[in-house]
Structure formats: structure tokens, C-alpha cells
Symmetry: C2
Subunit: 312 residues, 2 copies
């Protein structure tokens, strides 16, 4: 099961997930051209260096898309190389749409037949959590993961994520971000319940959401496949909004770790010690590791993994 | 200027924008295989049939992405063919991210050097309207358009789009969707003001938003480059939330027109007669036109354009 596989990989290597972000500044630092070939060299070298050193990598689709179909071919190679190297791939695409369009995105990134298939993807809920259903379904069919954008650290995000749910919507009485967390928790609890009763297909497709104690259930049964994106540097934002991201019962992708970003203290503030010790937090960084240059990547990743494991 | 170019094309052909959505059902109907080659045949034939018959086409990126890099190569060809055929291309990608990642998305789809460059793209504001700034900037630099997701017709969308803005955010006192509309209006008014005073660069980069009367200003000066996505079948939702999408001063992409969807009466209910007569509403359909099969596409598009022009 995806959540447990990820948890096991984090238990082995540590919580670090390296964002493969081949933007111009990093390509310059590595002495590589701003071309698809440069991005290819950067990506494949990064994957080769990180195999066996971290649990997961997170290629950022935008930096491949900006080279068109040649860039996407490099992304396909990068995902295949990560698989070969035993790295869990979280493809950062932040897709979000409805109906057959959302189903096509799910097929593109979660179906084993696709050349762009990753172990997990990020998705964006501006069209509502329920609109993302085709991605949850396909992730379940093919045992992959999804990370739903919830609460990010950029200040502009508050406009949407801190907004108070309107009456008659799932967010009523909480914030948009809180509503996403609650629905992720319900989804994980439903899947966990179905697994326990051994009737996965029927129980999940009947849509009954088990909402009580989902965080604890999820942790006890192993993490679910449905995760969150929550910034590592949000401080007390979730607490102020009245919810606990770690109650989602799934893994949490937390960008903003390392170098000038968050360390253990900041992660504990946002997620609590328990979330870290049960390997629920996938701490994501790019510059702190890739900024070390090709020869320093592996050491930098191991150093950060060690630093972030020193909890409590 | 993008907004005025689009407005002129709608004045010539009518408000219809055909969504190029090569999903399995339509490929079957056209007798084409579920492959990148099938999607290529579908897309290029559609563009060839529609040149001179409609103002714009809207390729849906998901249906190309699901064929990996081969699919993206077909999307590149489709965009080039649309350009050749004199069709305005609105690439439906719904991207949304922050910082250098958002800048990379903008470069991928709005920079003339990119093989994936379109005349306009759709973008998604879950990370906040302000996070999309790199797309607005690049669209201005290269005179292209952006359509920001605001209020969609799928019921799950209410959870986010109807939520009440929190204190201290731009949405305070309105809904998330209302906040997006107001910020699009401000952006268009700022650009229009800069154009009038002939000091485009300095006036826009100083970031001063001219908020008063932006709808009227935008309409008088021609539509701005910054548009909205608002469902054609939302009925009274915007009015109930207390805002008028047509006050945004830019074009509005309105999916859900034709066949079982919205007609003139529904468009008038949502946007008002004025918005239709000043060619502000880009009425989007896919099945109503492409469901007619390759030999019926052109006639179906013209028929729908005529039907939607019968206003008042």
C-alpha cells in the first residue's frame, strides 16, 4: 500500500524528499545549458546520486513543460530512472479539473501504462475536493498516492485557503484548508475500514465515509494513500484555523525545509512530534540539496536526513 | 492587445469557442484510435474545419498529457495549426503555483519561444491570485491572455469558490470567487490606465490598482487581457454571492454552452445582455460541435454561433 511503502522508505532513509527543480539558476550552478539536454543531465545525475540516500524525489513538472515535448520526454526518462533507482517519485503537477478531464489527468500520471506514471502526484482543489475523485479512484486501483494542496506558506494563499466555508458546503464551520484536511482524513479512514473488513471494493465504492478518529486509525493501520501538501513554514496557521494536519491519516508533503527554511523545530511546531516519529512528514527541499552541486548532492541529502531525524 | 483582438474575432464570427477535447468517447465517434496518432488526426482536422468559422479554440491539455511526450508533441502541432488557421488558441491547462515554478509555467505557455505557446491559457488560484503574478507579467510582455478560474458550475466547487474571505485577506467581505473577480478587474483597470497615459511600463510595475469603475472602463477601452472562467450554467450563483462577473473588464470564458447546456437565456441570466453584445463572453462547447463528427463540425459551429448571436 502506497502510504505504508512511503512510511517504510522514510523509516529507512529519513524524511527528506528532494525536489528536482531544474530552473535556470540551478542549471547555471551545475554548469549546464538551459535546454532539454541540460535538464536531462541534471535530472538523471540527481536521481543517480540520490538512489539509496533518500526515500523520495519530487520532480517539478513546470521545469520540464517549459521545454515542450522534449522536456516531457526528459520527464519520462527521469521518472523511469527514479523507479530503477528505488526512489519513490512524487510528481509535482498540481492538476485539478472535473469529470473526464480530471480522469485524463489521473490516467496521465497514475496509470501504469502511461510513460509519465509516478508513484504519487500533487493535485489542486480549487474546483472542490469532490471534483478530484477520478484521481483518488485511479490511485486506489493502481496503488498510488495523491497529495492534495491544503495550506501553503506563501502569504497570497490565505485569500483562498483561510476562507470560511459557506453554509451547505463541506467546509461550513471550518476553513477551506480545514475542509480539505477533513475530507482527506475521511477518505483514508474509509479505505482503511475497507481493508480491515477485507471488502475493499464494495465498501469503498459505496462511498460511506468513516470520519471519527481517522487520524489515529490511519496512523495505527499505517498511513493511507491520500496525503496533503502543507508548508513546513506555516507556523501556527493550522492551529489558528482550528485543525491538525497530522490527523489526516495520510502522508504530508511539507515543502520549505533546509538551508534558509524549516528545521526540526519548525516541523514540530506545525505537525507535532508524533507525526515526525511515525514518519508521516515528507520534508521537501530543493536548493538545500541540489545547491551543493552534482558532487555534493548525496552528502547534502544524507546530512539533512540526519538533521531532521533528531526529534525529541 | 489580446482582449481587443479576441473581441474583434468574436464580433466577426460570434462568441463560440470550441473545446478540443479528444477523449475516448469522441475518438470512438470519429472512428479514431485511442493513440497520439488518433488525437493528432482529431485535432488537426478540427482546426482545419474551424478556421474562419469561429473566433477561438480551446485545446484541453489533459487529453494530450495522457499520451505522454508524444501527446505533447501533438499539442504543439495543434497550437501551430491553430495559429496558421487564424484561430485564437486558449490552452486549457489550469496551472497554478508560486515563484519560479509559476514563472516556468508562464514561460511554457505564454513565451513566443516555447513550442507550447498559446494566445491565452487558463490558470488556477488555489495558491492565491497574487501567486499568479508571473503569468500576468509574461502575458503583458508578450501581449497574451490569461483566464483565471473563478466560479464553476460543478457543485463541488462551492466548497472553495463560495467560501467567505478571512479578515486580512483580499477576499474579506466577499467570497473567494468575488475576490478573484475584483482582482482581475483591478489588474485590467491598471493596465488600461497605463495604456491611456502612455506610460505602460512604469505605471503597471508600480503596482497601483485602479479599482473604481473598472468594468465600464474596461468595456469602453476594449477588453483587458486578464479574463475569468465562469460557468455558463451557474444561474444566479454570482448574483447571490453579490458580484457581477462582467465587471471584470476582461473576457469571460464560459464553458457549458450548447446541446444539453446553456443557450442565450442562460448566458443573459449569468452575464447580462451588455456582456454579450459587447463580445465579452467566449461561450465554450465541445460535444455540441465535435459530436457532429468531422464532416459536421463546421456547420455545427456556425449554427451555434448564429444561435448565440440572437441576443435581445
Amino acid at each position: 500500500m502506497f502510504g505504508m511503502r512511503l512510511q517504510a522508505a522514510m523509516a529507512e532513509h529519513g524524511p527528506v524528499c528532494v525536489g528536482i527543480d531544474p530552473h535556470d539558476h540551478l542549471l547555471d550552478l551545475w554548469g549546464l545549458p538551459h535546454t532539454a539536454a541540460g535538464v536531462r543531465e541534471f535530472s538523471l545525475r540527481t536521481v543517480a546520486e540520490l538512489g539509496g540516500a533518500v526515500a523520495a524525489v519530487k520532480p517539478q513538472s513546470a521545469f520540464y513543460e517549459c521545454y515542450g515535448s522534449s522536456g516531457i520526454a526528459v520527464l519520462e526518462e527521469t521518472l523511469a530512472a527514479a523507479r530503477e533507482a528505488g526512489l519513490i517519485s512524487v510528481l509535482d503537477v498540481k492538476r485539478g479539473d472535473i469529470g473526464s478531464t480530471m480522469a485524463a489527468y489521473a490516467r496521465a500520471y497514475l496509470s501504469p501504462e502511461s510513460h509519465l506514471a509516478a508513484d504519487a502526484i500533487t493535485i489542486s482543489p480549487y474546483l472542490g475536493f469532490g471534483a478530484l475523485e477520478p484521481a483518488f479512484d485511479l490511485a486506489q486501483t493502481h496503488d498510488r498516492g495523491v497529495f492534495v494542496l491544503a495550506l501553503t506558506s506563501n502569504p497570497e494563499g490565505r485569500e483562498v485557503q483561510h476562507a470560511h466555508g459557506a453554509e451547505g458546503t463541506p467546509g461550513f464551520g471550518t476553513s477551506v484548508a480545514g475542509s480539505i484536511v477533513a475530507q482527506v482524513a475521511a477518505r483514508n479512514a474509509t479505505e482503511a475500514g475497507a481493508r480491515r473488513s477485507g471488502t475493499e471494493d464494495s465498501a469503498v465504492t459505496d462511498g460511506t465515509a468513516v470520519t471519527e478518529g481517522s487520524g489515529a486509525v490511519g496512523a495505527a493501520a499505517g498511513l493511507g494513500r491520500c496525503g496533503l501538501v502543507v508548508g513546513a513554514t506555516i507556523g501556527t496557521a493550522a492551529a489558528s484555523l482550528g485543525f491538525d494536519p497530522s490527523a489526516c491519516g495520510g502522508p504530508i508533503l511539507a515543502p520549505g525545509v533546509g538551508a534558509q527554511g524549516a528545521g526540526v523545530a519548525e516541523l514540530v511546531e506545525v505537525f507535532g512530534v508524533g507525526a515526525l516519529t511515525r514518519n508521516q512528514i515528507l520534508a521537501t527541499t530543493s536548493r538545500a540539496v541540489l545547491g551543493a552541486g552534482p558532487d555534493g548532492v548525496r552528502e547534502a541529502a544524507k546530512f539533512l536526513n540526519d538533521a531532521l531525524r533528531e526529534v525529541g
